[in-house]
Amino acid sequence: MQSQNAGETLQDRMIRLWNASPRFIFLSPSILFVLFLSIFPLVASLYLSMSRIRFVKGGFEITFIGVRNYEKLLSGSQERHFLGKYGEVTPQGYAVLIILVSLMLIMLVRYCLREKIKPYGLIAASAFVVAANRFVPPLVNTLREADVSAEGLGSLYIETFLKLAVGIGIGLYIVNKLDALGVVLRVISILFATRIIWLLIRTMSEGGLNEGGLPGTIGVTMIFAFGGVFFQYIFGLMLAMLVTQNLAGKRFFRIIFLLPMMITPVGIGFLFRMVTNTVLGPIAPLWKFVGLSEVTWAETAFGARTAVMVGDIWQWTPFMFIILLAALEGVSRDQVEASLVDGANSFQIFRYIVLPHILPVSTTLILIRLIEAFKIIDMPQVLTYGGPGTATESTTLHVYNLWRAIDLGTSAALAYLLLIVVTFIALTYVNFFRRRVLENL
């Protein structure tokens, strides 16, 4: 055996390796792709988001400036653009805030009761959260106030991060020992969610929840994402249910309804600029009949947002439709027929047979679309250029505009903030809804 090994050529050796380890050869290309095109760029992006990039002769110059780009976005010159203009919160706004926060607290209490969290575990968890709240902001302040030109800024950062890491590590170790990690994570996510809700209450729904507020790009993105996905799901489900009835022409509708998904979103942006034109578009006679032919969609914030959302809904309802259709066709006919014989009405059949069957698919489907919807750029860019003002400017478009203004550092920081928000929303969604759905049904 040994002599054979010694005499083998490189080719033989490679073949032997190939045959010996399919499990790694199957998986490693994917891992490499993700590492080199997502993870490392992400790390590099984090560094860029903490730098100022200036173009100088023959290249560019990168200066490390710490959290200043983030500061600019969250409480500086870009604050109104990104987060929006804060209005005076009305009593209704406070009521909504109180209701949502108490709902989250009730969930937390129920979780503690269900998991039988021991009291000292709970105390340790709350001590950890309180300590983090007490110590992290001063640290960030120190960093923020450090002189930009200081040579030691990098080492100051490393020092602070090391201290933070050690502190968090010790805290998490103790909390983990006491089985209270779940509580810590939940409290942190409740704090973050409260922040987002408070931001939305202060900037959105002018006249209802606040006076004089204007949403920033993150709020606009959320309107597009949640509003769009909601209508896409409702329409997709309705169409899928209509088509699954025993009607003739099922295949025809199935092909026709899929068409919008295949147009490039840029094209749809242009297309809906034509279609929503109240004078020259195809439904101009209808507008004239309703008496709205003088109104231009892109003139008001509400109209422009609606136009973008209508385009988005038109394009992505088919995606919901096709997958919900597949799910609905998987509903057992025997079960439906048996319940018909037992005298169940349509609503009961939907509630007790169809809905449980499609709920798991629906949660996944909504999650996919929600994640995709947060990246919306092409539709508003072509349809309204983000206008009027910044009324339809999504966060991704905002990033692109900053990049075009050669403010690369801030654009990287903004992209990072978007990533944090999307990740938080997706993880919260997965934690709350998926398990809830799978447990209850």
Binding site: V34, L271, A284
Partner: protein, 344 residues
């Protein structure tokens, strides 16, 4: 008589009233879907004057169709033909990246359903750290060999000392979640470093660079759909093939892939549509030579204002191959997604 109208002929059918209601809703949505398409087709044959003087619906009745948009885009005396190159770019990039994503993603999905991986988190972290360090040094201008040596040295150092101390290990579902969660990543968050990396590697403004970037974006979708699909395929067939002496590669290629063909086709079409219509990455990574169709469409909004006839024609040219392909493979789309999606 009217009562009859609302009564089901038998318990398993639906009443005529409900049938009419359903059909009217379906037809309404068909119009909603098709009207914009019809508008594209008629606008492609309009002269500028026909667009700007109010809605004209029917060719030859409302207006005289004209092929000037075709002449402008495809047979222009001045600019020549400036659609062919972006069109070929789009075809090459979209089909290349979909095929690559399908190949890599489905083998990974297969491996994740059939083998058991137990990577140590400590080792994974140190590997990521050291490779990241190496890549960072390289981007900063250190030579490739030197940064590689530094990375390997750091990895060996940390992995042999601290890395082994971590207890516990990750499982397949962690790897799958990690791969799939990359879809959450907004492309803008990574585009600047990718741009710099491409510049250093000479991939900027090449088709290969676009193929690689699109593959990375679509990989998570393939893993997501195909993992559920492979889980639903019974393992017994593969086991009997192993007993007959087949290798892992033969089993995957000859037995599993043919069984998973409907899923592969359905996933392939979805991925192809995403790659075909991709805009954000192309916006940053393409130049004059590698311009793709979505960029060309967006560019029609040039100095003279939107060229509606050209835009319509370009969008139609873009959508035609996809529609044809989907119509041909329509039955797979439904049945292929079914297995994966229903398991959720």
């Amino acid at each position: 008589m009217i009562r009859q109208f609302f009564i089901r002929p038998n318990p398993f059918a639906i009443s005529p009233a409900r049938k009419i209601f359903s059909y009217s809703l379906l037809i309404f949505w068909t119009i909603v879907t098709l009207l914009p398409f019809y508008w594209l087709v008629v606008t492609a044959f309009k002269l500028p004057i026909d667009v700007s003087t109010g809605p004209k619906y029917v060719p030859y009745v409302d207006y005289k169709p004209d092929t000037h948009a075709f002449d402008d885009l495809l047979f222009s005396d001045v600019a020549g033909n400036f659609v062919t190159r972006p069109y070929i770019n789009t075809i090459v990039v979209a089909s290349g990246s979909s095929a690559l994503a399908l190949l890599i993603g489905s083998t990974a999905a297969y491996a994740l359903t059939r083998f058991e991986y137990r990577p140590k988190p400590g080792l994974v972290l140190t590997l990521a750290l050291s490779v990241g360090l190496g890549a960072y040094l390289y981007v900063q201008g250190l030579s490739m060999i030197l940064s590689g040596v530094v990375a390997i040295a750091v990895y060996a150092l940390i992995a042999q000392t601290i890395g082994r101390r971590f207890k516990g290990s990750l499982g397949n579902s962690d790897i799958a979640f990690w791969l799939v969660s990359q879809r959450m990543l907004p492309p803008v968050a990574v585009i600047v470093p990718i741009y710099v990396m491409y510049q250093n590697l000479g991939l900027l403004n090449t088709r290969l660079g676009l193929i690689v970037a699109y593959t990375a974006v679509n990989l998570p979708l393939v893993v997501w759909f195909m993992r559920d699909y492979f889980q639903a395929i019974p393992i017994e067939l593969e086991e009997s093939a192993f007993i007959d002496g087949a290798s892992q590669y033969q089993v995957l290629w000859r037995i599993v892939m043919p069984l998973a063909a409907p899923g592969l086709i359905a996933t392939g079409i979805i991925v192809l549509i995403f790659a075909w219509n991709e805009y954000t990455l192309a916006l940053f990574l393409t130049g004059a030579d590698t311009q793709t169709m979505p960029i060309l469409v967006a560019a029609q909004n040039a100095t003279r204002g939107p060229q509606w006839w050209s835009i319509s024609l370009l969008v139609l040219m873009m959508v035609a191959p996809i529609v044809l392909l989907s119509a041909l493979l329509e039955r797979f789309i439904a049945s292929g997604i079914l297995l994966g999606a229903v398991k959720g």
